[in-house]
Subunit: 286 residues, 2 copies
């Protein structure tokens, strides 16, 4: 996919670097897409690592940059942090805005195959090709130090991107990820629409299924997953234990930290965000 | 003012403490009022300092707790941080919701005298009596270590509270405060409505006027004011230089830091928030 021109919508100095919001015309999903990118002062002088953060259900590019406190860490660690939107927008597909857990704000980072959705709902290719290349091309990124992480639906997006693109990302981590999308209520509803009844397609976008057949490079330290114990979605939508079991079976290194008393919100993310920066930094140094 | 019962609306664990939102029926402003309060784990065992943060125009109790990253600092420094709303709400006074810079979300932390507004727009008494007492009574606050700070309209609120209540607050600081409210366009519009034409009333809620007649205890270190150089409101609404001149004339210790390239947003606040914690901590230790 060729990269189109970037239009700057927002620029605010923060922690000596800049938090930007840009938009561009995406050829992959067929609409204008916004994204946030924090550029630390360090990136003015040298190439720096890149972290891509994928957000959860209902989010735009604003939630993560407004609520997580990421700018302080990106400045201190000297990382560019880029965060795309969670779906195409404004495509006016019947049913894309009826529910908060499907369609706009809820693209599940997949490439749909059903004709109704397959023109626009191509977030997997958008993230891992067009958006990825756009960031590497336009910002001072060290292409050997790129990690991906995310929250909830975005944690799912980060994990499936890592597994389906062996070697593209040096590191992956997640906050309260949807670990077994094809068997959660959110995922069953979405995948029925995006893929129809062919469950083999569903499994191609499910972290618990994908780890079993993953043969790419393994991270040095166990992949870091934080999960709040008071997260209302844990037992019915996220299924972290199933993913851990699948990782064990596949001998894939993983660490699930159950964080006592924490919920599913950005207060949970902000608390443990620095640990994820530390984790990715360590992987980048190998 | 007697304190009414608190109703908890929100509770999220963050940095080992809790970010709460409560509401209560305010006898001072005659409506239900919400506020945020972060309680660090340390406060479970001992009395801790309190910082009251006053927000700027258009804010509710959510903006500061969502966007500033305050929880990390409150946890690390062991402070309770309480932030009230910026006006009464739902009082249905004609004209209270027509403009973003007057009325709901824009109470200017004054006690109005004009009869149309004087029943509800009593935010000065609300903050410095009812809300203050509510927090001290309901949370584990060390009453000898209470500071106040704020942003923009809330910086104005913090400064006038400090000057009009000598000794009540051990420390005060501000981000991009409205320094000379009675001569800014925002203030002229609001004070005309709240006070009518009696300019002596206007001066009683103006930091630049109040410092000239202040005879209370002075802080040990100069009061800390941060001001972004790229803040669009600086020259026409905030007037930091006038306040600095008035402080010099009054021999009141103050430090204005012009922060190159920063704007008026929470990205500016989050960047320098820790310096304000350090400042208040030092004052508390005297």
């Amino acid at each position: 996919m060729s990269s189109s021109a970037l239009t700057r919508e927002q620029s605010s100095k923060a922690f000596d670097g800049h938090q930007y919001v840009y938009n561009h015309e995406s050829s992959t999903v067929g609409c204008k897409m916004k994204f946030g990118v924090y550029v630390p002062a360090k990136a003015e002088k040298e190439r720096v690592p890149l972290l891509i953060f994928l957000s959860g259900l209902t989010c735009t590019e604003q939630n993560f940059i407004t609520k997580s406190g990421v700018q302080r860490l990106a400045s201190e660690y000297g990382f560019i942090v880029a965060n795309p939107d969670t779906s195409p927008r404004g495509c006016k597909i019947e049913g894309d805005s009826d529910k908060w857990d499907f369609g706009e704000g809820a693209g599940y980072y997949i490439d749909a195959t059903e004709s109704k959705w397959s023109k626009n709902y191509r977030m997997f290719s958008y993230i891992n090709e067009e958006f990825y290349e756009l960031i590497v091309k336009n910002f001072n990124v060290n292409p050997n130090q790129i990690g991906i992480f995310g929250h909830s639906m975005g944690g799912h997006g980060a994990l499936i991107s890592f597994f389906k693109r062996p070697g593209q990302y040096k590191s992956v981590s997640a906050f309260a990820p949807i670990c077994n999308a094809s068997k959660s209520d959110w995922g069953i509803n979405a995948y029925t629409k995006f893929f129809g009844q062919d469950k083999n397609l569903w499994k191609q976008y499910d972290a618990t299924e994908l780890v079993a057949s993953y043969h790419g490079p393994k991270p040095h330290a166990p992949v870091l997953i934080d999960q709040g114990s008071d997260d209302n979605f844990k037992d019915k939508q996220l299924f972290p234990e199933r993913f851990i079991d699948a990782c064990k079976t596949a001998s894939f290194p993983i660490e699930l930290r159950e964080q006592a008393g924490y919920d599913h919100s950005y207060y949970f993310i902000m608390t443990f965000l620095e640990d994820h920066f530390k984790y990715h930094k360590k992987e980048f140094e190998h």
